[in-house]
């Protein structure tokens, strides 16, 4: 990937900022998401809550199903491949997906290596629980980062933990003296240049979204106030009582994330939220996949 292509790929993520990216499984859902104000959709066969319920190995979605969604909407379409599965990524690039999510939601294909994302022209987004993970993924070529959270649970606690941790580590590096940065790079197992960027700019070199367990307008606004630049909503929308209304409410809550009066109005009469599961009740911990 050329430097200018990487800049364009980071740039697309910048265009998505302040927006909501929604998981969809059919062209009809994609249209609902677009009408409700999604800035992009994530095309996948099963949303995380169903992947969790079904168990077994989950893989990249059927390209035909993804193409159906690409035809249904005009906003960017993303799709997931397994961690380390560079052939799934090649397939997604071949069908001209706008963004690939190398995702812990699917079963990992490689328990050591992530995909060398610099070999692709198409952009990648990757999950991270802390600053080290985020910078390692960026070093591998990721053009966008999201928190891992714990997908498919409707429980926002891990997304909050990951966002807080990342931001507190960023603050720590910002306040370090220059000669301490070399050791910090060693500790986090990332190149010095990336640590230096964080030290000088007080932020990641790419856009950072929140993901995992966001189910309500308040959850989305919480993540924004904690410093997310936008929000992924997976199971939270189409596992709820009134997807259309909930989706539109989450979109507005992300735009006006500090206006509690407006978020109060938006939170009224949304019908049933997705059923949540506590971390103690789940067997598969997806956030631990890929480090």
């Amino acid at each position: 990937m050329s430097q200018s292509q990487y800049e364009l790929n980071k740039g697309l993520a910048q265009m998505l900022k302040g927006g909501v990216i929604m998981d969809v499984t059919t062209p009809e859902q994609a249209e609902i998401a677009e009408k409700a104000g999604a800035c992009a959709v994530m095309a996948l066969e099963r949303i995380p809550a169903d992947i969790r319920a079904a168990g077994g190995i989950s893989r990249m979605s059927d390209p035909k199903m993804i193409k159906g969604i690409q035809e249904a909407v005009s906003i960017p379409v993303m799709a997931k491949c397994r961690i380390g599965h560079f052939v799934e990524a090649q397939i997604l690039e071949a069908i001209e997906i706008d963004y690939i999510d190398e995702s812990e939601v699917l079963s990992p294909a490689d328990d050591i290596y992530h995909i060398d994302k610099t070999q692709f022209k198409v952009p990648f987004v990757c999950g991270a629980r802390d600053l080290g993970e985020a910078l390692r993924r960026i070093n591998e070529g990721a053009a966008m980062i999201r928190t891992k959270g714990e997908p498919g649970t409707g429980d926002v606690v891990q997304a909050v933990r990951h966002m807080r941790k990342m931001n507190s580590e960023i603050r720590k590096i910002t306040s370090m003296s220059k000669d301490e940065l070399f050791e910090e790079a060693k500790q986090l197992q990332v190149p010095y240049d990336l640590i230096k960027f964080v030290h000088e700019n007080g932020k990641l070199p790419v856009v950072n979204f929140a993901a995992g367990g966001v189910a309500t307008p308040a959850d989305a606004a919480l993540m924004m106030q904690l410093g997310a630049e936008g929000v992924f909503v997976g199971s939270g929308i189409f596992k709820s009582g009134d997807p259309e209304k909930r989706a539109a409410a989450i979109v507005q809550a992300v735009t006006n994330y500090t206006d509690a009066k407006l978020i109060a109005q938006l939170s009224e009469d949304l019908g049933e939220a997705m059923v949540g599961i506590n971390p103690g009740e789940i067997k598969i911990i997806m956030e631990e996949r890929g480090k």
Partner: protein, 198 residues
């Protein structure tokens, strides 16, 4: 001087940074206001419509009840700089689509005219009087038709990608994604000119 930047979704902070970087080049202090609700539109001298997703921005300006006021301001001559999604918001017609948004600029645009993300590209070109400007296209539109009174600023491969019509500057590319401040400077000069002659 107060410049309102539509901040419902997209790359609005990038525009704010460009404007801030120009602050010491002008005598008058320039203040940026993030437009998220109708009340934010009060007392602004210029409007920036940033890149992002036009479907999202177009929906939110209606949902958040600022459509009429925003449109009136543009119609009434408040200098407006619109980039990428912003250009789509201004266009009077969108190819293969019945929807229009603010519909104040007499052009027809084609959305995602260069295809998906793999079609995104960078090149250099002239923007009106500004030479050798870096042109960044990200899932960009282009203009398929412009009314005769529209002044064409930029073309790439014979496609119109930058225009000015009275107070409105519409660009298919992203000056906010470069380090080159000349287009924003030109825009601020337009606001100055408008204020002096008002």
């Amino acid at each position: 001087m107060r410049i309102g930047i539509l901040s419902v979704q997209g790359a609005f902070i990038e525009h704010e940074k460009m404007i801030s970087a120009l602050n010491n080049e002008f005598e008058e202090t320039i203040e940026c206001v993030q437009i998220r609700q109708k009340k934010d539109l009060e007392n602004i001298d210029g409007i920036i419509l940033p890149g992002g997703e036009s479907t999202v921005q177009g929906k939110l300006i209606k949902d958040l009840d600022m459509y009429d006021e925003l449109r009136d301001k543009i119609e009434n001559g408040v200098p407006t700089l619109a980039t990428c999604a912003g250009l789509i918001l201004l266009a009077q017609n969108i190819e293969n689509d019945d929807t229009t948004h603010l519909s104040t600029l007499p052009v027809t645009v084609q959305r995602n005219a260069y295809g998906r993300q793999l079609g995104s590209f960078v090149t250099t070109g002239n923007a009106g009087e500004i030479n050798d400007y870096p042109l960044v296209f990200i899932r960009a539109p282009y203009i398929t038709q412009a009314e005769p009174e529209v002044n064409i600023l930029t073309t790439v491969d014979k496609k119109i990608v930058g225009v000015q019509y009275k107070n409105q500057i519409g660009l298919a590319f992203h000056p906010e994604m470069t380090d080159d401040l000349r287009i924003h400077k030109y825009f601020i000069e337009q606001i100055h000119f408008k204020k002096r002659t008002a």
